[in-house]
């Protein structure tokens, strides 16, 4: 098992590095390094966005949430997918048409202010770090599960963190956005293939999805809990009906009356502020292509999350039936229920594919982590390299110097996230795995949705938005989100605690009001009408289309 897993992992990492090398940027240009020359096609970009966006939280976390909470667990997936609808409606096309390098670059140029740029850099880096560290933790834990052995005296966990961080940092440094785009696109297709394979073998074994939901809903929902040092099944309380038990197919297993809405608002608005996802829109050739890319993303996301929900349900139904014939499940379960819900897809893989099946699913989890780390590192590099180094540290930098500044930023941020992941090492796998990964990713969404998304949307759709208004809005949104999340542990996860854990529903409207009020009292950029033409006009799109036609006509002419 270890030898086979190591061989597959080594093959995967080598393939990623070779792809980065082959697809490395052409020439030392920041446009090539950060944006792949703005020539990424619609479907390729959609696959790359999915590779960027579907982290371990999506690959393992959604099935785990369904496994542990039933219907209420589905809302994580709903929020993740729903986030792209507002992106399509309000952000994708104008963002690409304005055509900058990063979120801070867009805000800085749109509002004509270096103060806005630096405030946005600060928020963007906080979001990236909140997202990056749990991915590194996830890679360490996946290595621990998959390989179980360390290298060069390191623990298995530390080996996973170091190997994945070094490999992906190398890919991003060498391959830039072009190499990263293609590897992320392939990695997403790999993730989807793993889910499709699992769904086919599960359904092929005679599993009936509707019947399973009905059967699981007949009895109260129970999950393992450690009581006085002993593991036992505890009935989940219905959060909508206090004192009553929760059921798999009914609401109330995870959220009270406010919980679903606060979570979905946080995930929906957070998506529009995620730097690694938004940066990908700058790589589209036109605004229309960026818009259509989002339609494809929503199609892919729907298939991916629907399969994740099916697999979570299947695991809940099938694992308990498989315990009797498979002694290895005894250590992982309590009376037929998994202690760590994130194991659900992995265990399904082993039940239906043996050791090879487990390796396939575990490698899928690692791939999910790696592709997200790549996108985050690139977004961080664009922010440090383009917005800080080129603008403030060395404004006269040559293209070569600017690209190397971006590469250096990748290495520094990768080292920082790996260090934090090693310091945050959970003492026991079972105790903290779900909480660290899921909680920190939710913080990232909350911060992005509270501080960046409102300012972002206003800057695109409201001419009167000003630089002081944007800075005030970002600061208000960020401080409110951080403050409410910090308060959450003292309040608990019921009632008002549901808002504190997913605070965007409060912080984003507050940031919007502050941005509007301050903007109305200050002066917008003098050339706002000219900026408006760039944001909402399609001349550049038509020019790109015409240029492409002329190029194609030239190629055809040569052939003839």
């Amino acid at each position: 098992m270890i030898a086979a897993s190591l061989a597959v992992l080594a093959g995967l990492l080598v393939a990623v590095l070779v792809a980065g090398l082959v697809l490395r940027p052409r020439g030392a240009s920041t446009l090539e390094f950060y944006l792949a020359g703005r020539r990424v096609g619609v479907v390729t970009n959609a696959c790359a966005i999915c590779g960027d966006y579907f982290s371990a939280a999506s690959f393992l976390g959604v099935a785990a949430a369904v496994y542990v909470s039933g219907l209420d667990g589905v809302w994580y997936a709903t929020g993740f997918a729903a986030g792209f609808v507002p992106v399509l409606l309000f952000v994708a096309a104008p963002l690409r048409r304005f055509g900058e390098f990063s979120i801070p670059d867009f805000l800085g140029r749109r509002l004509g202010s270096e103060g806005v740029r630096l405030a946005a850099v600060t928020v963007v880096q906080l979001v990236i770090l909140s997202y990056l560290v749990p991915q590194a933790v996830g890679s360490g834990l996946t290595w621990e599960l998959l390989v179980g052995e360390g290298v060069a005296g390191l623990s298995p966990y530390a080996t996973g963190v170091v190997v994945s961080t070094v490999a992906i940092a190398a890919l991003v440094v060498v391959g830039g956005m072009r190499g990263t785009t293609w590897t992320q696109a392939v990695q997403f297709l790999l993730l989807l293939a793993v889910f499709i394979w699992l769904a086919i073998v599960v359904l092929g074994s005679g599993f009936s999805y509707p019947d399973a939901v009905a059967r699981l809903t007949e009895n109260p929902l129970t999950n393992p809990a450690e009581v006085n040092g002993n593991w036992q099944l505890e009935v989940e309380e219905n959060r909508l009906d206090s004192g009553e038990p929760a059921f798999f197919g009914h609401p109330g297993g995870r959220y009270g009356p406010l919980g679903q809405i606060t979570l979905v608002v946080t995930l929906v608005l957070g998506t529009a502020g995620l730097p690694h996802v938004m940066n990908r829109y700058f790589t589209s050739p036109t605004g229309t292509a960026a818009r259509m890319t989002t339609v494809w993303v929503l199609g892919f996301a729907g298939v991916f999350y629907a399969l994740a929900v099916l697999l979570g349900t299947a695991a809940r139904s099938l694992v308990s039936e498989a315990v009797a014939d498979r002694p290895w499940l005894a250590d992982l379960t309590v009376d037929g229920v998994l202690r760590v819900p994130e194991h659900a897809p992995l265990v399904l893989g082993r039940i239906y594919g043996g050791e090879a099946g487990l390796a396939v699913v575990a490698i899928g989890a690692l791939v999910a982590v790696l592709s997200t780390i790549a996108g985050l590192l690139l977004a961080s590099a664009a922010s440090w390299g383009h917005d800080v180094y080129e603008r403030h540290i060395n404004p006269g930098a040559s293209q070569r110097q600017a690209v190397w500044a971006g590469r250096s930023a990748v290495l520094v941020v990768a080292a920082l996230s790996a260090t934090l992941a090693l310091l945050l090492r959970p003492q026991t796998l079972t105790a903290l795995f779900p909480s660290i990964v899921a909680t920190m990713v939710t913080w990232a969404f909350a911060l992005a949705g509270s501080a960046l998304a409102p300012v972002f949307v206003l800057a695109i759709w409201w001419r009167r938005t000003t630089a002081p208004g944007a800075v005030a809005g970002m600061v208000t949104g960020a401080l409110t989100a951080i403050g409410l999340v910090a308060l959450a542990p003292s309040v608990g996860d019921r009632g008002i605690g549901e808002i504190l854990l997913a605070p965007t529903i409060v912080a984003a409207p507050l940031a919007t009001v502050v941005t509007v009020l301050v903007s109305l009292r200050t002066t917008p950029p003098a050339d706002v009408e000219r900026l408006w033409l760039k944001l909402h006009g399609t001349a550049a799109d038509r020019r790109a289309v015409r240029l492409a036609r002329l190029t194609i006509a030239g190629v055809d002419g040569k052939k003839r």
Binding site: L71, V74, W75, T78, A81, A82, F84, V85, P86, L88, L89, F90, S208, P210, D211, A212, V213, A214, R215, T217, L240, G249, H250, P251, P257, Q260, I261, V264, T286, T288, A289, R291, M292, T294, V295, L298, A301, G302, V303, Y305, A306, W461, D527, E529, R530, L531, W532, L533, K534, H536, G537, T538, A539, A540, R542, R543, V545, R546, L547, R549
Partner: protein
Amino acid sequence: MASSGADTPWTDPDEGDRRVPDVGDEYDMPADVDAAFRTVRRVAVGHFVVFLGVVVAVPILTLTVDWWSEGRLIGGMTPSFVMAAVGLYVFFFLIAAGAATLSNAVEDRMLGSPEQEPPDRDGAEP
């Protein structure tokens, strides 16, 4: 209609006074952009209201209509489960495809003059 050719071509504000390479004399008139902006904004807001209504309706139906959480729609699945597990993803895709198609059509009609397009125009992206 845009691109009459009588006004100053579009310039990139970040490039100072340097004119953007002008392939095919494509540029937009401010009045046309403003009209298209308002129409696309109406499309976006309209679709967003429908999106928000449906997303919020699911938990509200859960709290108010017993059949939504207790009834049977497909085998043993409740309407609430079917909607959350599959229906909403289909809805998101359809509303996104509809909004994108409509927005693209609005921009095509309101910006850029069709008479300047080459005769073999097929609307394909580069």
